[in-house]
C-alpha cells in the first residue's frame, strides 16, 4: 500500500497504518537526525519526537506534497529545536565526526586505500559539522537523503532558488575546508565519480 493509502487507513482509525509508515521511514529519518545532531541519543530522541508529531498531525496532513517531504520538514524542525536546547545546555557544540565513519565492510582494494577512504569520510564529516545549519541541512537532504531541489524546497519551506544557492555555497565551503585538489582532469574526475552529471 502506498503512503496515501496508509494515511487514509489511519484516518479511518487503523493505528497499524501508522506503524507501516513508521517502519518505512524510520531509518531515513534517523539518518537525517544523526547528521543534523551528531549525538546518537539526541538523534534517537528527535527521530522519535518526529514520528510522535507526525502521528498527532496526520489527521491535518493535506496531500499537496509527498508524505516523506512533510515528515522531513517535521524532522528538520525537531532537530533544530533539539540543537537549540543542546546549545543552551552545553554552551558550545563539539563533535569530531568519528561516529559517521562507515563501519560496513570496505569495497576498497587495499588497506592503504581503505585507510584513505576512512580518512576522507572523517574529513567530510568534520567539515560538514563546521558548516552552518542553513547550509548543512539542504546539503544533507541532497547528498544523504537524495531529495530533489523541489522536495528540499518544500521540506524547508524556501524557494528552489534558495535551495540551489545554499547547496552551491555549502559545496564551495566544504571543498575549501577539505582542500579538494584541483589538479585532476575533468575526464578523470567524472570517471572516478562513476556518474554522468
Amino acid at each position: 500500500m502506498d503512503d496515501f493509502g496508509n494515511i487514509e487507513d489511519f484516518r479511518k482509525g487503523n493505528p497499524s497504518a501508522f506503524e507501516a509508515l513508521l517502519l518505512k521511514y524510520k531509518d531515513r529519518i534517523y539518518t537525517l537526525c544523526r547528521y543534523l545532531l551528531e549525538n546518537p541519543q539526541d538523534a534517537d530522541d528527535a527521530a522519535q519526537d518526529t514520528f510522535v508529531k507526525a502521528f498527532q498531525g496526520l489527521a491535518r496532513f493535506t496531500p499537496t506534497a509527498s508524505f516523506y517531504t512533510w515528515l522531513y520538514r517535521i524532522a528538520v524542525n525537531t532537530c533544530l529545536d533539539q540543537r537549540r536546547k543542546a546549545s543552551l545546555r552545553t554552551g558550545l557544540f563539539v563533535a569530531d565526526g568519528t561516529d559517521f565513519l562507515d563501519m560496513a565492510p570496505s569495497q576498497s582494494p587495499s588497506p592503504e586505500s581503505d585507510f584513505g577512504t576512512k580518512q576522507a569520510i572523517h574529513s567530510l564529516q568534520t567539515s560538514l559539522n563546521r558548516l552552518s545549519v542553513k547550509l548543512r541541512v539542504p546539503l544533507v537532504l541532497k547528498e544523504v537523503e537524495g531529495l530533489s531541489y523541489e522536495e528540499i524546497a518544500v521540506a524547508l519551506d524556501v524557494s528552489v532558488g534558495t535551495v540551489k544557492s545554499r547547496i552551491s555555497r555549502a559545496r564551495e565551503e566544504m571543498a575549501r575546508m577539505m582542500k579538494i585538489p584541483r589538479n585532476k582532469t575533468r575526464g578523470e574526475t567524472l570517471k572516478k565519480a562513476g556518474e554522468k552529471p
Binding site: 534517523y30 538523534a43 489527521a59
Partner: protein
C-alpha cells in the same frame, strides 16, 4: 556563457538539475576554461565523498518506543480552540473597549434624553469649558470685561 554565470550553475549541473540547453552551454564553457573546470572538479569531489557517507539504521526497539508513546495519544483533529486560546488576551481587551464605548453612549443618552434647555445645561456641566481660566466674578474676568474681550 561567462565564468560568473557558469559558477552559479555548476552545483545544479553536478546534481543534474540544469535544463539541457543550459547544460550544453556550460559544457562548452568548461571545455575552454581551466578555472571553472577546477571549481567543477571540487564540486564533483565533494559529491563523490558523500557516496561513502554512512546511512544509519534506527536503534533496536525504535518502532516499539514510538508506538508506546503514541498509544495513549489521540490524533488531534483540527480545532479552532487553540487559536481562540492564543488570542484570548487580545479579544478580552477589544471586548472591554467595546463595552466601554457602548455603556458610555447609553449613559450619555440617559443624561440627555431630549434637546432643550435642560439638556444643554447637562451638556454644559459635562463640558470642559466649565473649567474656565477666568470664571465670572474673578479679577481676570473683570479685566477682560474692561478690555472688551468677552468670551
Amino acid at each position: 556563457m561567462r565564468c560568473f554565470s557558469v559558477r552559479r550553475r555548476l552545483s545544479p549541473y553536478v546534481d543534474g538539475e540544469l535544463p539541457a540547453p543550459e547544460a550544453r552551454k556550460l559544457e562548452l564553457h568548461l571545455a575552454g576554461c581551466q578555472q571553472c573546470t577546477a571549481v567543477y572538479e571540487e564540486m564533483v569531489g565533494v559529491r563523490r565523498l558523500f557516496s561513502g557517507a554512512r546511512r544509519f539504521s534506527a536503534p533496536q526497539g525504535f518502532p516499539a518506543a514510538v508506538m508506546e508513546k503514541v498509544r495513549d495519544l489521540p490524533a488531534k483533529p483540527f480545532s479552532l480552540v487553540p487559536l481562540f486560546v492564543r488570542f484570548a488576551g487580545a479579544a478580552a481587551v477589544v471586548l472591554a473597549i467595546a463595552a466601554g464605548a457602548v455603556s458610555g453612549d447609553v449613559l450619555m443618552s440617559s443624561l440627555v434624553p431630549h434637546r432643550g434647555p435642560e439638556g444643554e445645561t447637562v451638556m454644559a456641566s459635562l463640558s470642559l469649558d466649565t473649567f474656565e481660566a477666568s470664571p465670572p466674578g474673578s479679577l481676570g474676568h473683570g479685566y477682560l470685561s474692561l478690555t472688551g474681550d468677552r468670551r
